[in-house]
Amino acid sequence: MKFLALVKKEFHRFFHDPRLITTMLLPGLVIFLLYSVLGEALNTKAEARHYDVYLVGDSAVTRVIAQAATAGGDSVEWRRLGDEEEAMDAVREGKATAVIKFSENFDAAEGGKVEIFYDASNEVSAAFYSLATAALNAYGMRFTVAAQSLTSAETIGMQVLCSILPLLIVTFVFSACMSVTLESVAGEKERGTLATVLVTSVKRSHVALGKIFPLACISMLGALSSFLGTALSMPKLMGLSLNMLGAYGFWNYFLILLLILSVVPLIVSLIAVVSAYSKSVKEASAYTGMLMILSLILSLVATFVPKMGNWTVAIPVLNTVVFMQELLAGALPVWQSLVSAGVNLVLTAALVFVMTKMLSDERIMFGK
């Protein structure tokens, strides 16, 4: 009952204040717009593209694709090669744009199949892939379309993106947590509204958790907004016509989310403890600034020191960055991710306990 009322109050405070909601969600939008515009400026199609495409089998629909390309100011040259594998290699090496393979008697029979082989890391090839699938889909559903990238996502751009994204995420998570927690804990202490709650018969542990739980949920929103903003715009920024959100399997996303979910309450409770200790928002901001630098250093270390090893599961924040990187690189470090999340959550519980003790400490709450 009492705990619920505390949680509700935090949510009420947040969701009825447009200013707070905006400060929480705006970063994601700004990042998205900024990076997209930047990416657009850096990677605008300077001249018309030329596609060299190998055909295996034949069909009248090639004309539809060619028309679509011409309409966009591009040109297609259809080529043939005796050996299918050789054609694929040409695509891998960047000497050709793509290979399109039609099933036998494609135009004559119903239920034919068309396969597109392309290179996702090559901008021209990826553009052709989008164009061709769009044209084929518009043509009608008499046949099935299958597409396959001949290269994996491990291009330079992707690698940079994968290694830097966790660092960005942790930074965004931190600032999201900071903006709400400082205000709600240090602010309430400084203004004397926390003391008003402490003279009631509510348990200190409920007050501590009644702050940390809703603040973590709210910070989660901010972190998610920043995360989506980054994830959706980064590929564009790096000139990759690749959709981040479709690049990995379910378990990769699940574990990434789990890591974020575990690091948010940890950071919130860390800032909450520091805020409860401080006499003013200003003092708390100073301490939190130091924490942010520390977490940034950990993230940077994790980002730029390769192959850190499994011991990193024991270090909060570091563990999150290290294994998020591996997950984004396509690996599936299952137990490491689970243990990391566990470590973060256990530390969170410890910090909730510390905060409870602090709320009961008269020198901290009512000292001069």
């Binding site: 509204t193 003391a195 003279v199 018969s201």
Partner: protein, 259 residues
């Protein structure tokens, strides 16, 4: 209800603070420890207003904070409605309403919301809470402002809301540190009227003040607090001996104080 039923009993309360370096500098003192309350005992009775009268630094706030369980005495104990402040602080918090200018309400919320929130903090049942809100809001004229955010209320109305919110759980005892300190005359009147109203409702009140007229106007019993100790205690007439102010300064000088 029993005549002169003892509702608060303080027994030999002691509190010593360790002074921080900063505090030592501000107060220009070399001492590391400060005895704020030293062996304070007194009793207050049901339905009465008890006043702790003393100069700045006498230990009034420290005493009231101990009674309201915000800080723990180093020694001694006090019993409010029979509950020990040392052993059952949460029980005590449910039978008292503590008011001081240090306790603030969040300006973002409305009186209506805050009343419900603090009701929940004290575990007041929903139905009882609604009835009580209606009654108190209309009695103190808050009903028209119940949906106005606290930060937009006038000082007087804000004071009323703070008072009403602190008695949301219908406490037997109200503890009030310097009730009229820093208030303009109109708001001060709101507060003293409120205290008299509470007494009419049968509540017991303990207040602290350094203002003689406030004691003379409100209190049934008074304790004169000097250097963390009671210098005199009893009914207002018995302590004042005709002139409260003169009696006070006689005691003050007797304790070695200089005007």
């Amino acid at each position: 209800m029993q005549e002169h039923e003892e509702i608060v009993r303080a027994e030999n309360l002691k509190k010593t603070f360790t002074l921080s370096k900063k505090q030592q500098r501000i107060e220009q003192t070399g001492e590391k420890r400060r005895v704020a309350v030293s062996g304070l005992s007194f009793s207050a009775y049901r339905g009465e207003i008890y006043g702790l009268l003393g100069p700045n630094g006498a230990g009034k706030t420290t005493t009231l904070r101990m009674l309201s369980t915000l800080i723990r005495p180093d020694a001694g104990d006090a019993f409010l409605c029979g509950h020990s402040i040392v052993k059952e602080p949460r029980r005590v918090r449910d039978v008292i309403g503590f008011m001081t200018s240090d306790l603030k309400l969040e300006g973002f919320f409305t009186p209506d919301y805050l009343f419900d929130f603090f009701g929940a903090m004290h575990g007041v049942e929903k139905a009882a809470l609604a009835t009580r809100k209606k009654e108190l809001f209309s009695r103190f004229g808050i009903d028209k402002f119940s949906e106005v955010r606290v930060k937009n209320l006038s000082t007087g109305m804000l004071q009323k809301v703070s008072l009403v919110v602190s008695i949301v759980h219908d406490p037997e005892i109200v503890i009030f540190d310097e009730p009229t300190n820093g208030l303009d005359v109109i708001t001060a009147k709101v507060v003293t009227d409120f205290l008299e109203e509470l007494r009419r409702m049968g509540k017991s009140i303990i207040l602290s003040t350094h203002i003689f007229s406030l004691v003379e106007k409100l209190c049934d019993r008074v304790g004169i607090l000097l250097n963390g100790r009671l210098a005199a205690e009893g009914s207002l007439e018995a302590v004042a001996k005709g002139d409260l102010e003169r009696t006070f300064f006689a005691l003050y000088e007797g304790e070695g104080g200089r005007v």
